[in-house]
């Protein structure tokens, strides 16, 4: 299992579009990918799941990756977070 903590800097927070793009990226990996915010978890491959966390600017999230290709997944998805959110 791999984890990556990230604080959202985008002032709009995790809006629908970035949530969708993120889900798309995540869906390309076979492993289980979860986003955790304040103890609430959501499947990172699902746009509605991510949106339901209501992640706002300045909030801390944890990306949790488990299973096949987790190394690649955490690397690519954490880069996505840093570049887009």
């Amino acid at each position: 299992m791999k984890e990556f903590n990230y604080k959202i800097t985008d002032e709009l927070g995790v809006h629908a579009r970035p949530a969708g793009l993120f889900a798309k990226e995540a869906a390309a990996f076979p492993c289980k990918i979860t986003i955790v915010k304040d103890g609430k978890e959501a499947d990172a491959k699902r746009i509605f799941g991510i949106m339901s966390l209501g992640i706002k600017a300045g909030q801390e999230i944890t990306l949790r990756v488990e299973g096949e290709k987790e190394e690649e997944a955490i690397a690519q998805l954490s880069r996505f977070l840093q570049e887009n959110l």
Partner: protein
């Protein structure tokens, strides 16, 4: 009959009212035997919906730009959401119901979830979920939404309009949008702003309004149904004025601020927050001549962090895309009070502990702001100016602090650019030593409001003295001239950012004096430009 609502875009529209009827997507629950085939029917409809959305995305891209078109991309992603698909297919499978019913129920459940979130943006997404569900249902029904508008231009009334509905509308037929629901973040609102037409939300109109004459007053947030002749005439007059203004805007946009004999002057905008930038740009500001940073402090409950400030400054610098942005550092005190500063009550606050005086005594507040500004400088062209200056010693102290800030940033490897440094000229003292100040700084910006108050010794908050508060007083005009002359001797450019800057009865005088820049409220830019272009100095 006058109906109240909330305006999301100002302006006036006069025309026939037309109630938009949503495509009839009544869904009946039916028992299905072959659930496998029904699931396939859903999946096919979903794919077809995605193709439609792709087409809509392309259409919207051309009509309303990428930012507003993005929603159709999002809708495609939503249709691919596994939770959504699983919910529909499970329902068909386990309850043996038709696809239409499963989609409608799922759509309701998901939109309820968004509706319940404590975030206005997410709440508004409930409409998106309903929208994608309706799209799939329409396809399942085998019906297509056709254009509902006739040949006449109308004021469109609706419960709410989904983004796909607004894009499918023939925009040339819509004078204004009025909805019962919707939010200031809703797509109808955004679209109205993009189309530059008035729009209201939260208006409880009656079905009987359909076909009647109506007026939308986007300034007051009112819908007037069936106005009498006098009201109609009044609004026709207002509308004409508005159109004249728009014409002026079109004629003057992109034109130079140049007199008949070729003298140019910079025309910048005064803004009080990030949200004003759009207004500055749409009115063709050449830059931001006064960015009042107070809003960051006034809106907060505690000292705004470096990060918050950085984000605001960076956003403005980026949006102005290389055009000059002059940030005025904290100008709290006097008539602008903030609780957490715990300022003592003063007998004479206008002459008290305020602006740069606070910054130089509570250096940490000042340094936080300067660090944020310098970090943001990397993303555009930022200049910094300091309010309420009365002495050279203050300027030297400021420069010392700036030096510290820059050294700290360099040490941490944080990129920044050099910024032009200027002072506000708003005290008689600053005027009298402007020759000395000019040697220390890159520019002056004359704050005529305070300068008038201090020079004439008139409290500008006292209405009894309004009759002698004369901002055209010869003393003020001479001071401005003096500052321009002293500044120019030392290659210091001189601007005016007070209210006098927008006073078109003085524009010619200022040009004669050699003022280099006028910074005015965004809505005044084109009027001042119009004035400048009619002046011949020689």
């Amino acid at each position: 009959m006058i109906l109240k609502g909330k305006s999301v875009f100002s302006g006036i529209a006069i025309g026939k009212l037309s109630i938009y009827k949503q495509a009839d997507n009544q869904v009946k629950r039916q028992k299905i035997k072959d659930t496998k085939q029904e699931v396939q029917r859903f999946l096919n409809a979903k794919e077809k919906a995605k193709i439609q959305l792709m087409e809509l995305y392309k259409k919207a891209l051309k009509e309303v730009g990428e930012v507003n078109a993005a929603i159709f991309e999002v809708h495609q992603m939503m249709l691919d959401d596994l939770d959504y698909i699983e919910s529909v297919t499970n329902m068909i499978d386990s309850q043996e119901v038709n696809a239409e019913f499963a989609v409608a129920t799922t759509g309701d459940n998901f939109s309820d979830m968004f509706e319940a979130m404590d975030d206005d943006y997410m709440k508004a997404r409930a409409a998106d979920v309903k929208d994608i569900s309706n799209r799939v249902i329409t396809i399942l029904h085998g019906s297509d939404t056709s254009d509902i508008l006739g040949d006449e231009q109308v004021i469109l009334l609706a419960d709410d309009l989904a983004p796909s509905e607004t894009v499918q509308l023939d925009k040339s037929k819509v004078l204004s949008f009025v909805t019962r629901h919707g939010s200031t973040n809703s797509h109808t609102a955004i679209l109205a702003r993009t189309m530059n037409i008035p729009a209201l939300i939260g208006v409880e109109f009656l079905a009987t309004a359909n076909g009647k004459m109506g007026i939308v007053d986007g300034y007051k947030g009112e819908l007037i149904v069936d106005p009498d002749a006098a009201v109609l005439a009044e609004y026709q007059e207002k509308k004409k004025e508005e159109e004249d203004k728009k014409r002026l805007l079109l004629e003057l946009k992109g034109k130079e601020n140049v007199t008949l004999d070729g003298r140019k002057i910079n025309l910048y905008a005064n803004i009080g927050g990030v949200a004003d930038v759009a207004n500055a740009l749409s009115n063709d500001a050449g830059g931001i001549g006064l960015f009042r940073s107070e809003f960051l402090y006034l809106e907060a409950e505690d000292y705004p962090t470096e990060e918050t400030q950085f984000t605001a400054y960076k956003t403005v610098a980026e949006n102005m895309a290389g055009k000059k942005v002059i940030i005025r550092t904290l100008d709290i005190g006097a008539d602008k009070q903030v609780d957490y500063f715990n300022l003592e009550k003063e007998e004479n606050p206008a002459m008290g502990y305020r602006a740069i005086r606070i910054c130089l005594q509570q250096k940490e507040i000042f340094k936080t702001q300067l660090r944020a500004i310098y970090r943001a400088s990397f993303y555009g062209t930022i200049s910094i100016m300091f309010p309420m200056i009365i002495s050279i010693a203050e300027v030297k102290q400021i420069k010392e602090i700036i030096k510290e800030v820059k050294e700290e940033l360099s040490k941490s490897g944080i990129p920044f650019k050099e910024c032009e440094i200027g002072v506000m000229i708003e005290t008689p003292a600053a005027v009298m030593i402007s020759d000395l100040l000019a040697k220390e700084v890159d520019f002056f910006s004359i704050g005529t409001n305070d300068l008038t108050q201090y020079t004439l010794a008139i409290d500008r908050q006292n209405p009894k003295l309004d009759n002698i508060y004369d901002s055209h007083h010869e003393a003020i005009l001479r001071m401005i001239k003096m500052v321009v002359d002293q500044g120019h001797k030392e290659n210091c450019w001189v601007g005016i950012c007070g209210e006098l800057g927008a006073d078109i009865t003085l524009t010619e005088r200022f040009l004669e004096m050699g003022v280099d820049e006028l910074s005015v409220s965004p809505s005044m830019i084109l009027r001042v430009r119009d004035c400048i272009r009619k002046i011949g100095l020689s």
